[in-house]
Symmetry: C2
Subunit: 188 residues, 2 copies
């Protein structure tokens, strides 16, 4: 399951992360990103609505993949297990891009407008998962609440994975975070 | 526990909600909001950084109040109970302003940039609650995960309260949502 599209979008993101790291996010123009990627500004705008969006390539596809995987999970699988399996299925792809993910994380953390965009994507992920759970017959508010904790556990796993000095695989951080979620939920 | 400050800020918010409802958010200028409230544009900017912020008066104060209440809750109270009590303590204030809250909700729902600002405030609420739980001795990741579900349950309660045709009190919607959270968590 490819997470971010290969080709132009991935090259543009790599170029953007390089330039944002070298010169700063504000001082980098879209035309420079395109040039570094060996593409035109026009191609950039064919793929991304604006400079912020280049740091979220394939995010809509990622959300759609997770949603489909949750809907397609075995009927007897518990909601949180289905969600964990969906996140795990595509996690190798991220492991192969850990360093770029770390540099991207540092850029996002340093810019309020990028964090706002990230929160909008996170909200869309939660809505996609809640929708998938409803399709599986989970009623509201259980669907909404379960999606919210799953997104929180996913964020926890992603943060730990990105900061892990031992370079543990994302799937292991996902498993640990969901286990801790189960443990925590038993104390509520 | 006052949620939004009285006086200038509240008058400016009331004027803004009136004007946004009458003419639309985009077509309303800050100077017009100030005039409707019987104040100057300068006073507006003494209270709010921009036009978006007028729809979130006292939000930082609200977050600080919730945080303090969670820290000050009895040591034997379970984290989610302490959070529910904190939200409940100031809920009458919102009941007295239900209609303005409903009009505000409609304005927020119709504007992506206002929803982005709202998500930033929601994220800050979650961070405030997680911090308060850590002060109570709850370790991470339990603090982060518990704060995330509490915020989700609060959002659920606020949405139901705002849409309730029978005008049920916010504290009753909060109690119901947290009960449903407990019920849902037992299925995880």
């Amino acid at each position: 399951m490819g997470r971010w599209p290969a080709g132009a979008q991935e090259r543009l993101q790599e170029a953007a992360i390089e330039l944002f790291t070298e010169r700063g996010y504000e001082r980098t123009r879209v035309a420079e990103i395109a040039t570094r990627a060996g593409l035109t500004e026009r191609t950039f705008y064919n793929h991304f609505a604006d400079k912020r969006e280049v740091l979220f390539p394939g995010q809509d596809r990622f959300i759609a993949d997770i949603r489909e995987a949750v809907v397609a999970a075995p009927a007897e699988q518990a909601p949180l297990d289905a969600i964990l399996a969906a996140f795990t299925a595509g996690s190798d792809w991220f492991d192969q891009r850990r360093e770029a993910a770390q540099r991207r994380r540092r850029i996002l953390d340093a810019h309020g407008d990028l964090r706002e965009r990230e929160r909008a994507k996170t909200a869309a992920l939660g809505e996609g998962i809640a929708d998938a759970l409803r399709t599986r017959g989970v009623c509201d508010p259980a669907a909404t609440l379960t999606a919210a904790v799953a997104v929180a556990a996913h964020q926890l796993a992603a943060a730990r994975w990105s900061a892990d000095p031992r370079h543990g695989a994302l799937k292991d951080h996902l498993r640990d975070s969901f286990e801790e979620l189960h443990r925590t939920a038993r104390t509520w």
